[in-house]
Symmetry: C5
Subunit: 103 residues, 5 copies
């Protein structure tokens, strides 16, 4: 699963009926990297993506994303045409007490 | 889900019978990027793709694309051999009032 | 869906029994690009792939390829282990009257 | 399947209910490369990923990862929204007696 | 489907029970390229991968690989968590009489 930082919202008035009510976010993929000191920091990579969200992730939060058919398993109706969903919000503790800064 | 700008149509006379009646578009993947000012702009990335469309996206519109088995969930017959479908057209408001320009 | 130019045939005597009778092609992915003039040309990208073909695409033709589980939907038996199939042959008209040249 | 080195743990308090109890790891993709001498070494590539683990891989171990719908086949409930799981821990012998060092 | 050259074996003592008895290979992706003369050669690309094999491919052989859920279709039990399987061994004739050399 990739992880990504939430950076905004997406609005789409014309869309598949089955997508109504699902919130979409713009996210920037990030990777955890480790300094020689053991400190963790987050580095951006790749391009922004659009993902569905039922969990309520806020801007700047770091989320775990399930892609492909796995994304649909998080929905009550697994026939909704969405290929990326937020499935968790990563605790800041994961990045260490003194780190979490974004490069 | 990736987002992309619609740039043209595709015609294929010889094709899988089950694809008849489905419209295909050429799209250019784009990513939303944010300026220091908070302004959003769209940057092209990767190569053009071909995607199915039931929603009626027009040239220059920015669309959300479901890929893989998720694409097929937008079709009445989920056994049609297509791996990318337009599932929404993104509102211009998403890119902000003064932005939306394409770099 | 990616599009690609057919460049040759593949022979494999030892293979999964269920693949017998299916023709395999070597294809070079290409992307449609647009000149300022509006003219379309095809640019190669990525590396050659091997895809199954039931439609009868010939060398130099430009084909649409369904990948992943979507590829299998084009087969009578969807349990055949193939992850890429030709699902259409793109008409030359798609690339415009005066274009179609390959860069 | 890609292989990767385990480099840390991920904590996510807010997540899909169905993910509770599943351990998540940060892993760095690596590739086996061969020196002229026949010696094997591991080279890092790409960015860190987050994967589920039921097997109990420890830090610095090299794991095999199943991605996509295949990842879910390793779970008792195949409807859990996870797209990457550790499915094996590679024996050091794979990298040869005198090798296994990481470049 | 990608094609790849077999370069070694993988051993994993601790793994998903359902993977027992399945042989795993290290493979290097290659692409067929064509010289102006029409001669074919194989060029390496990307990083080494691990794939399952039931067919019995030997070192240096060039194999076709099915990825994702398609890989599992080659197994009697399609719920085994593996996302890449050898499904064929490409005949040397595919690369032409005088070619087949590896760049």
């Amino acid at each position: 699963m990739i992880i990504a930082r939430v950076i905004g919202n997406v609005w789409a008035t014309r869309k598949e009926e089955s997508l109504r009510g699902l919130k979409f976010l713009v996210v920037q993929p990030v990777a955890m990297r480790y300094k020689e000191s053991g400190e963790v920091f987050l580095a951006e990579w790749g391009d922004t993506l659009v993902v569905g969200d039922k969990i309520g992730a806020g801007e700047e939060e770091i989320v775990m994303i399930a892609a492909g058919s796995s994304a649909r398993q998080s929905l009550a109706d697994t026939h909704i045409p969405v290929d990326a969903m937020v499935v968790g919000i990563i605790d800041k503790e994961t990045f260490g007490a003194e780190s979490g800064e974004v490069s």
